[in-house]
Symmetry: C2
Subunit: 330 residues, 2 copies
DNA sequence: ATCGTTCTTGTAATCGTTTACAAGCCCGAC
DNA sequence: GTCGGGCTTGTAAACGATTACAAGAACGAT
């Protein structure tokens, strides 16, 4: 009653295992051979064992996408794009969650050496020496969606947060807002650091000083709510807030409503990531599109290319942002 | 420069492969043996190959969770719960997306026979004969989060939608609403059919006739928006709408706002699933909690139990709903 | 010293595939 | 009739682990 193996099929068809394997892999064979094998396969309901196959051929035809938090809608955008590319190339995509800790990311990368997948696409939220080292030493190709040092010598696709921040500030300034505040996520994360730097630069470019800068404990809705007072509670209220991602922005907007402030009338709000949530929130959220879909697509392509040829020199792609203007800004 | 194998480690340590394997698996060995193997392992950076291991021991220590749409926030709730249970049991969780078509689900279940994972947790959106058949015949344990016929003889954990609908209608009626409409998802899906039936029963229990019933083309935000006119455009406007899930409810609320209608003043809105989106939407959405987290947890437990003992008689668990009241209802 | 027991270690078979190589067959050309 | 070439098919050796079994070492009891 146990699973039929290729040997069973061979016996049933009265041929050798090699012939069965050849027929199944579409290698040349006579009509009669194909016929007999096919019949035996159907009859027994044989399905080849992927473990044995991949042990022999050294490939699993699986790719892993690792993200920090499945609850963050930016990852669904990315995931959709990645899925499309890799499935077109004949790979299955499996998604795993790392959580916010860098040690888990390192463990994941190290674990890839076990041969679960042919490649890893990781979007790390925190990066340290260990992670870079483990990526460089990893037995399977890795591409990073995010920012790691150039010396790491690894394919990366990253966003241009400073440029994105500039778009956001430009837009707010054009609409007459000057008292601009910034709601960041944890500054010890890669996106947190980049966005903080970008915000400071963009404000300087306009000769403005921030009204307030707050740091949420996480890139989540709840953290956005919790950090709202820090961004609003200063002596002079901001007339615009830029949040480091959409979840934070939406959390903030809830607190604005609770405080009786209108968006965008009293306070304009700009998010980042332009995820599905930006469209779904109310009012719909003006958001900096950091090209998540394109980043996913390009990253997937880099991964496939590196699987083809592991010797190619690492590429570092930067995708340009745009601004999706919706009703949370005037 | 290629990956070290157990044979390489054995050679480096000057012992046999069996001894290396034993040390690595914590079987009894002398201090000196452990020491030598450990040193060789560290030196070579050896990591056992999961494919080879699982080929031999017949287990991969991976579990697959298959969902229809990663963009649906109800799945993130479920995913979190499942992840917690299975990782505590020493399994890795991988997530794959099936899309809305039942043929893809069937292909997935069939594909499990290839041995990618030790078990499958699937939340099918459409169910047909083929799917039931493929689940029953599947080589690896499968548990279904959702509703399949009892005769399928498979472990299931499902929600009690009729009861949930009753909670929603009870609540609306208690708040004085009588002109209640229903915004369903596709009626040819399992949740669509169940929620439709539940709604009809609940209304009947209160002696009410629905003001309008509309069917969105999908359980998505966009479909909710598109179907809004059908639910609002009748001769008499509803004073309350129940949506078959949170995404539909939020889509509807956007159209209500566009039409200048207040929530809950003019129209109360109730969603279903009580996902993170219900909390994040504005106004926060009253939503029927169908116990996604608990369903995920229980389903994961059933799966683990069945992996332990494949002979146990299938269980069918129903988890009870509750109502999370927020500001979209009076 | 011999025997039996227990403990450690090594040899080799096995899991289910793929594939290099060899063998067999058929066929036409000389 | 023999030979060589091209196909088709089969045999057996991998892939990298685990593990049953056997052999050897150590040791205490007689």
């Amino acid at each position: 009653m146990s699973r039929p193996t290729i040997a069973g099929v061979a016996r049933a068809a009265g041929v050798s295992v090699a012939s069965v394997s050849r027929v199944l892999n579409g290698l040349p064979a006579t009509e009669e051979m194909i016929e007999r094998v096919q019949r035996a396969v159907d009859e027994l309901g044989y399905v080849p064992d992927a473990r044995a196959r991949s042990l022999k051929v050294g490939r699993t035809f699986q790719l892993t996408l690792a993200v920090a938090d499945v609850g963050n809608p930016v990852y669904v955008t990315m995931m959709r794009a990645v899925e499309e590319v890799v499935s077109a190339a004949g790979y299955r995509l499996v998604v795993t969650t790392t959580g916010p800790d860098v040690v888990d990311e390192v463990a994941l990368v190290r674990g890839m050496a076990r041969g679960y997948a042919d490649g890893l696409l990781i979007s790390p939220i925190r990066v340290d020496e260990d992670l870079v080292k483990s990526i460089r030493e990893c037995e399977v190709p890795v591409v990073v969606a995010g920012n790691v040092p150039a010396k790491a010598g690894v394919d990366t696709v990253r966003a241009n947060s400073p440029k994105g921040m500039l778009l956001a500030v430009d837009h707010l300034v054009a609409k007459g807002r000057r008292r601009i505040a910034f709601l960041n996520g944890p500054a010890d994360t890669v996106p947190g650091a980049a966005r903080s730097k970008g915000f400071t630069e963009a404000m300087k470019a306009h000769g403005l000083d921030p009204i307030a800068v707050a740091e949420a404990s996480d890139f989540t809705f709840a953290a956005g709510r919790a950090a709202a007072p820090a961004v609003l509670g200063g002596e002079s209220r901001p007339d615009a807030v830029i949040a480091a991602n959409d979840l934070l922005a939406v959390g903030l907007m809830h607190e604005l409503a609770a405080a009786g402030l209108e968006v965008p009338g009293d306070v304009a709000v700009v998010g980042m990531d332009d995820s599905e949530l930006a469209e779904q929130s109310f009012p719909p959220l003006t958001s900096v599109n950091l090209g998540s879909a394109e980043r996913g697509r390009r990253a997937a392509e880099l991964l496939l290319a590196r699987i083809e040829d592991n010797q190619r020199t690492p590429r570092r792609i930067v995708v340009q942002p745009s601004l999706s203007i919706r009703r949370s800004t005037p």
